[in-house]
């Protein structure tokens, strides 16, 4: 029996009258890629906010890797091994691409109360950061200011930064949005190759990517999980087709 | 070999209203001295402190080190003086405050080379307290600014006033709206209000005093709030309710002595036809005091001991008649009740009576000189 990496129980979040997350239960097994799909405004990003600690939940519990993290700060959740990416790009715009990634690496190497040694010349940070950039196909842009990247490149950097924290589990919020076909297929391949190494919760509207990657899929509508199953099961689910997929 | 006198005043900001009068008075004194001291040529060097202690100190340093002045005078504010005086005193210069009545220098911190040609902060309001007793005021409301000088004014009046203080408010200097205080005054129904609101605070406060209708019911008594420098402004703004109000001071333009008459007349010629304020009078006396010292030293300004001795004698024609110095080098002098009058269409301050004679700062005996 595989271990449960993430267990969400009865999670609730209200925005005023709106119930964005409605008594949600999700289990993600160790090593699986678990996709969450659903219409716009279904509460997917809200779920990631709650999981990553950006939003305080109204009620419910989150267990991750054997401990309860419902009330942990986002930084601590990251240290516990859970890291997210953003749907709307969130990077250090006035840092170089390399330094953006290096910040993540620095984070995983323990506290940063080191006041003296020059971190710019720190071979460990730069070396590891470069490795990740190579994997993401951004190595040629390493020295460019992140703000000057094209939109699609910023999306790639977004994921690189999450990966660089060396997480156990990745929460990916539409990682492929804004990427061209080539880039998104590269990222898809990359994520596939990482299967087993990371547990992933993937939110994506790119169904090609979802069906190619996901082991299991949860469908979210109005904050509730209306279906959960293998890609085949979901593809065949009439309700899901109606609410989300359309009749391609 | 010229004799140089460095003069630090506030010549910018709205507070320059006093500084400019003082500057003019120094120039009148210069003329009266014929541009000479002890037979030597005299040079006055003016600097602006911008109302800030650090700038005042900086300018003092410049006067001492660059211009190599023999004397320093001017200094309107206690905090500017506090920062600046040590520079001059360390350099062995003689320092004459022409306004700032820093009480520490009258007592504990008195210094052989420190003179004050004006007064100590609380003296004037002590005289006010006495005057209030004389005029039969029983219930007094006190209003002042919340800073050191303001508190010393309050302390002064409380020291001598014998009736009841029915209320007391010290407002921060950033405030220009007294609605709350005026309501309290009204509720307390005093038979006199004592205020210390110099400069633009006075302008605003007295305006609101009238708007609230208090001018009709409660007489105003003030120190350093109605003076020759701002009286023309009150007149220009048609603040008629100021006429008849009382304040106390060591001097008035109609004080009857020859030096004063000449000074008042020459000042008007020099400065927009204005009647001088006490600031101007002090400034005039400061330079005359220095001149007396230099004369006693036979023109040798570097002979500090001789100069100091001469200054302590204070043998010169002062606008306040004869001037006497205590061992702390603060004047021992009379204080007068003055009233605002309209004389030939020009508002001015007129002496009504002598309130106290030969008054010395209370902390004089703390001075160990």
């Amino acid at each position: 029996m595989t271990e449960i990496m993430l267990k969400v129980e009865n999670l609730v979040k209200h925005f005023g009258g709106l119930v964005a997350t409605d008594s949600l239960n999700i289990e993600v097994e160790q090593g699986e890629i678990h996709a969450v799909i659903g219409p716009n405004g279904a509460g997917k990003t809200t779920l990631i906010h709650q999981l990553s600690g950006m939003l305080e939940s109204d009620s419910g519990t989150i267990h991750f890797d054997g401990q309860e993290i419902s009330h942990m700060s986002s930084a601590n959740r990251c240290h516990a091994g859970m890291v997210r990416s953003y749907q709307i790009t969130s990077i250090f715009k006035d840092f170089s691409v390399l330094d953006n990634v290096a910040m993540s690496i620095q984070a995983r190497e323990g506290h940063s109360f080191r006041f003296w040694k020059n971190a710019n010349k720190d071979a460990v940070l730069a070396g590891k950061a470069r490795e990740i950039l190579v994997e993401m196909g951004l190595e040629e842009r390493a020295e460019v200011l992140a703000d000057n990247l094209a939109h699609g490149e910023q999306r790639q950097l977004e994921i690189a930064m999450a990966l660089a924290t060396d997480p156990k589990m990745l929460l990916l919020d539409e990682p492929m949005a804004g990427m061209g076909p080539e880039e998104s297929s590269r990222v898809t391949k990359y994520l596939e190759s990482m299967k087993g190494k990371y547990t992933m919760l993937l939110i994506e509207h790119d169904m090609d990517a979802v069906f190619a990657l996901a082991d299991r899929i949860t469908v979210l509508v109005y904050g509730q999980a209306v279906a959960c199953g293998t890609p085949e099961e979901i593809r065949g689910n009439e309700e899901v087709r109606h609410a989300y997929l359309g009749d391609d | 070999e010229k004799i140089k006198v460095g003069i630090v005043l506030t010549l910018t900001t709205p507070a320059s209203i006093m500084g400019k009068q003082m500057k003019a008075a120094y120039e009148v004194a210069y003329d009266h001295l014929g541009g000479k001291m002890g037979g030597k040529e005299l040079e006055l060097i003016f600097e602006d402190d911008g109302l800030k202690p650090n700038i005042g100190k900086q300018k003092t340093e410049k006067l001492v080190k660059k211009d190599k002045v023999d004397f320093l005078t001017g200094y309107i504010w206690s905090h500017v003086l506090g920062a600046s005086a040590p520079v001059a005193l360390k350099a062995g210069k003689i320092f004459v405050s022409a306004n700032a009545g820093h009480s520490l220098y009258a007592g504990k911190k008195c210094h052989k080379n420190f003179f004050n040609a004006a007064w100590e902060n609380s003296q004037n309001s002590m005289a006010m307290g006495t005057m209030l007793n004389q005029r039969g005021v029983k219930n007094l409301y006190i209003l002042s600014l919340n800073y050191a000088a303001g508190k010393q004014m309050v302390a002064g009046v409380e020291r001598t006033f014998k009736g009841n203080v029915v209320g007391k408010d010290l407002v921060p200097t950033s405030h220009k709206d007294w609605s709350a205080e005026i309501a309290k005054v009204k509720a307390a129904k005093p038979d006199g209000v004592f205020v210390f609101y110099p400069g633009s605070w006075g302008l605003a406060f007295f305006t609101q005093y009238k708007q609230a209708g208090l001018d009709k019911t409660t007489p105003l008594y003030s120190v350093f709030s109605v003076d020759g420098a701002n009286l023309p402004v009150y007149q220009k703004r048609k603040m008629k309710h100021m006429i008849g109000t009382f304040n106390t001071m060591f001097w008035a333009p109609d004080l009857d002595n020859a030096v004063n008459k000449r000074f008042v007349a020459d000042f008007a010629k020099k400065y927009k036809g204005q009647i001088p304020s006490h600031y101007a009078a002090q400034a005039y006396d400061s330079l005359m005091l220095i001149a007396a010292g230099v004369k006693a030293a036979g023109g040798d300004a570097k002979n500090t001991d001789a100069v100091r001795k001469g200054m302590e004698e204070a043998d010169f024609g002062s606008v306040r008649g004869k001037i006497k110095f205590g061992k702390n080098h603060f004047p021992i002098q009379n204080f007068y009740a003055r009233q605002v009058i309209n004389k030939n269409g020009q508002w001015q301050l007129s002496v009504r009576q002598t309130v106290v004679e030969d008054h010395a700062p209370v902390m004089s005996n703390e001075c160990k000189l």
């Binding site: 990553s52 950006m54 700060s73 986002s74 930084a75 601590n76 990251c78 890291v83 997210r84 953003y86 969130s90 250090f92 715009k93 006035d94 840092f95 170089s96 910040m103 993540s104 620095q106 984070a107 995983r108 940063s112 109360f113 080191r114 006041f115 003296w116 040694k117 020059n118 971190a119 720190d122 930064m161 660089a164 924290t165 | 910018t12 602006d48 911008g50 800030k52 202690p53 650090n54 100190k57 900086q58 340093e61 410049k62 080190k65 660059k66 206690s78 905090h79 506090g82 920062a83 005086a85 040590p86 520079v87 520490l104 911190k109 919340n146 800073y147 050191a148 000088a149 508190k151 921060p172």
Partner: protein, 323 residues
């Protein structure tokens, strides 16, 4: 010594600033303006305060509008002890630094809950409270200030702050130390965290940094550095007064940093020299010098983005990352 820096206008300018500070005690008499040595001593003391502000504002994005309060705390530590006859530097200085640090810790801990303009205003609020407190304490002079009769005593033979040159070079050495500390720190791991938090604080949390603690640490370090400026100022001026923590001085510190070039190492020193020297020179020319100084500041903003350092950096070929 690396002479590379002399190849760029910025490098030359920065070297010039330092050389000017070193040699002013000899330059000043040579040009017949002895008091310029004092002016420069004062400039360097202000520069230390500006350097400390730059540390949190330029690199950490924490715009403190109450920074001068730490100058005041450092200054009053000397003043209050001296007024009780305690002149030992070994009591005055550690207490001054600790108190600045402690106040920074309290102010920072509360203020850092807010951001942006709210942060600016809450730091101002705390500074104003302490200012009004200092004005109301008559025992220590209220707004008349405290004259300090004896400078801090280090008890070391031949090292006496009453000696003008000793005082001057004490200030100089400490200022250079602050510059070096800043330089080391902003490039260290800690410094990178602060700078990244300025850039995107939320993202910092999600990649694992509880930035609050880092920012608070930086705030406390800056507070203590600024307290040092106060300790020096009290000794240099022989005088402390609430004026030194009024908001206008906090404002001036901000102007100095922006003028010199925010987020650069040498910016605050350059800013302090230009700001204070220009005030000094202009005010000696005319009393109405604000008529010239005001437009000068406007021109700097309009035509030199990033202050003087930013202006000079335009002449460099490759826009280097912040040094």
């Amino acid at each position: 010594m690396n002479l590379e820096i002399l190849k760029t206008p910025r490098g030359i300018y920065n070297s010039l600033l330092i050389l000017l500070c070193i040699f002013m005690p000899w330059i000043a008499p040579a040009i017949g303006q002895d008091f310029f040595t004092d002016v420069f001593g004062r400039i360097m003391i202000v520069a230390i305060a500006a350097i400390s502000l730059n540390l949190i504002m330029g690199f950490g994005g924490m715009i403190s509008f109450g920074h001068a309060v730490f100058v005041g705390i450092g200054g009053y530590a000397v003043g209050i002890f001296a007024s009780h006859g305690i002149e030992s530097a070994y009591i005055q200085w550690p207490v001054g630094l600790l108190m600045s640090g402690l106040f920074a810790l309290i102010i920072g801990a509360i203020s850092l809950r807010t951001r942006g303009v709210y942060f600016i205003m809450i730091t101002l609020a705390f500074a104003q409270m302490i200012y009004f407190l200092s004005v109301s304490i008559e025992k220590y002079g209220s707004d008349d200030g405290l004259t300090i009769d004896a400078r801090s005593d280090f008890g070391i033979p031949f090292y006496d702050l009453n000696d003008a040159l000793t005082m001057y070079f004490t200030v100089f050495v400490l200022m250079v130390a602050c510059l070096l500390i800043t330089r080391k720190m902003v490039n260290s791991r800690f410094g990178r965290v602060i700078r990244a938090a300025k850039s995107n604080d939320e993202r910092m949390h999600t990649i694992g940094y509880p930035t609050y603690g880092y920012k608070l640490t930086a705030f406390v370090i800056a507070g203590m550095m600024c307290g040092l400026s106060g300790l020096l100022s009290a000794n240099f001026e022989d005088f402390v007064s609430p004026d030194m923590m009024f908001w206008t001085f906090s404002g001036e510190l901000i102007f100095i940093v922006v003028l010199g070039g925010m987020g650069t190492i040498m910016g605050p020193l350059g800013g302090a020299i230009i700001f204070l020297l220009l005030s000094e020179v202009l005010s000696n020319i005319t009393n109405s010098w604000h008529l010239i100084f005001g437009p000068f500041l406007i021109l700097v903003v309009l035509f030199a983005r990033g202050g003087v350092e930013g202006f000079l950096a335009k002449f460099e070929k490759s826009p280097e990352a912040k040094s």
